[in-house]
């Protein structure tokens, strides 16, 4: 019996040995050690060259964190730190220089025939309110906005980091919340003055004469209704620039809202910055013409009244059609105190 078991053990042993020998060698024994198990996986340089961004999937709710790498931030940085500063600097300082040179050459535009002593109501209470709502918010938005781009270079060195941060943080909140008041102002202004800013035949004539702006004798009087062609161009530029500022501004105010990507946000900032500095330059020209640039113009927006002779020289068609022919408007004409 013991012999039988010994035989069985021998047979089993031989069979087991044969099985091991016949079995294919393990995988690791056959392959060289340099096989790359992730050979077919994506490569960083390849992805960046193809898409300039690397996007994957993550496990946290913050969807924008699934963008692994986005080197386009570098171009945005270059824009924000260099290009925007140049555009803004040239536009704003350039406009100021133009205005100074223009003032020295031209001087204020005078009322040729002198003051008549009769006041004419040019802008009523509502018009002035809407204008100043838009204007004051614009000035604050402009200053706080320019601070974000130019403050670090111009204000930080002499304000010190703490004071400058406090001012900039309040500036940011002011900028964010006043944007709503500005939006309301612009929309009201658009609705209120849209009808008077449609082009007319007189505008062509006005533009041909350059609005009389370049006549140092003040004797060229280009025809104009309530708004001349230059003012109409200003109106449309303000409407378009405001629309651009409001749309890009609200994108920045609600970052990453409804699927906005970091690329969209960068574009919104670029748009907001470029239009913003050009807008400031444009309004500097408007402020000049409404104050020191033209004698007798500021009254239109302060108490609403202008002198009748001023109105006849600068807005002859408006005087003819709406002031002198209208019985009800005649009440608006009254001698100045």
């Amino acid at each position: 019996m013991a012999k039988f078991f010994a035989h069985m053990r021998l047979i089993a042993g031989v069979l087991a040995l044969a099985l091991i020998v016949a079995m294919p060698a393990p995988v690791w024994a056959q392959q060289p050690s340099s096989v790359n198990p992730t050979a077919e996986a994506v490569k960083e340089q390849q992805l960046l060259q193809q898409l300039n961004t690397i996007q994957g999937r993550g496990t946290i709710p913050d969807v924008k964190s699934y963008v692994l790498e986005h080197p386009a931030g570098r171009e945005w940085r270059e824009f924000h730190n260099v290009t925007l500063k140049w555009i803004g600097g040239v536009a704003i300082i350039g406009m100021l220089l133009i205005l100074i040179v223009f003032y020295l050459w031209r001087g204020p535009m005078r009322v040729k025939s002198g003051y008549s002593g009769i006041s004419v109501l040019r802008f009523d209470m509502l018009e002035r309110f809407v204008h100043w709502l838009t204007a004051t918010t614009f000035v604050v938005l402009g200053i706080t906005g320019l601070n974000i781009t130019f403050g670090r270079a111009l204000l930080l060195p002499w304000m010190g980091p703490e004071a400058f941060s406090t001012w900039s943080e309040w500036g940011k909140y002011t900028h964010n919340y006043l944007s709503f008041a500005f939006t309301i102002g612009v929309v009201l202004m658009f609705l209120m003055w849209l009808g008077r800013n449609l082009p007319t035949a007189a505008d062509v004539e006005w533009l041909k004469l350059g609005g009389g702006m370049f006549d140092r004798d003040n004797s060229t009087h280009a025809p104009a209704h309530k708004f001349n062609a230059g003012q109409k161009i200003l109106f449309w530029l303000i409407v378009l620039a405001s629309a651009a500022m409001i749309i890009s501004g609200f994108m920045l105010l609600f970052p990453f809202y409804s699927g906005l990507t970091v690329g969209n946000m960068q574009l919104a900032e670029i748009f907001h910055g470029v239009v913003g500095v050009l807008f400031v330059a444009l309004i500097l020209g408007h402020i000049y013409l409404g104050t020191v640039g033209m004698e007798g113009a500021f009254g239109a927006m302060s108490d609403g009244n202008v002198d009748l002779n001023w109105a006849k020289e600068h807005h002859n068609l408006w005087v003819k059609d709406e002031i002198q022919t209208s019985g009800t408007k005649r009440e608006a004409m009254r001698p100045a105190e």
């Binding site: 340099s34 994506v42 999937r57 790498e69 974000i148 970091v262 900032e269």
Partner: protein
Amino acid sequence: MARMKFLCDADRCIECNACVTACKNEHEVPWGMNRRRVVTLNDGKPGERSISMACMHCTDAPCAAVCPVNCFYTTADAVVLHSKDLCIGCGYCFYACPFGAPQYPKVGNFGSRGKMDKCTFCAGGPEADGSKEEFEKYGANRLAEGKLPLCAEMCSTKSLLAGDSDVIAQIYKERVSRRGYGSGAWGWQTAYRESIAT
């Protein structure tokens, strides 16, 4: 002084997210914010790859360049830190950052955001090292204690390396030459304008 860097060996990362958890716990990072995250590319497909990503502490950091109030500073170890007292929460650093590192405690609220938070390379902030104020604002300051960032220290596959650039680059190069392959130091070209030849 050392030049501190992170290096994620993407051939080793198994997307266990332990670095993410360790970071959140070590610094008591508030709910909804992540200083470190793992992104998986080609998820569920052949050739899937995961990379752990946080602030890379860039050379010539874009966040510092665009900050309107100049609240960033670079330590002697080349770690990019910032002051939450000076930060105004404008969000520009996030637009400039190639790695999506800056985080903000508030979402929406008309863009008010709150003070920016990001990976500090476990090096705290401008307050006194190891102080209560520093911990509350920036989390633990392990570097001041002579320890390296926790995410890399406890990485189970030693995929994530943190430390002096020359040292971790050497470890990675030896690793690549021994195993015979390597997908490179992810993000290095973007962050430091240099890479490790593999």
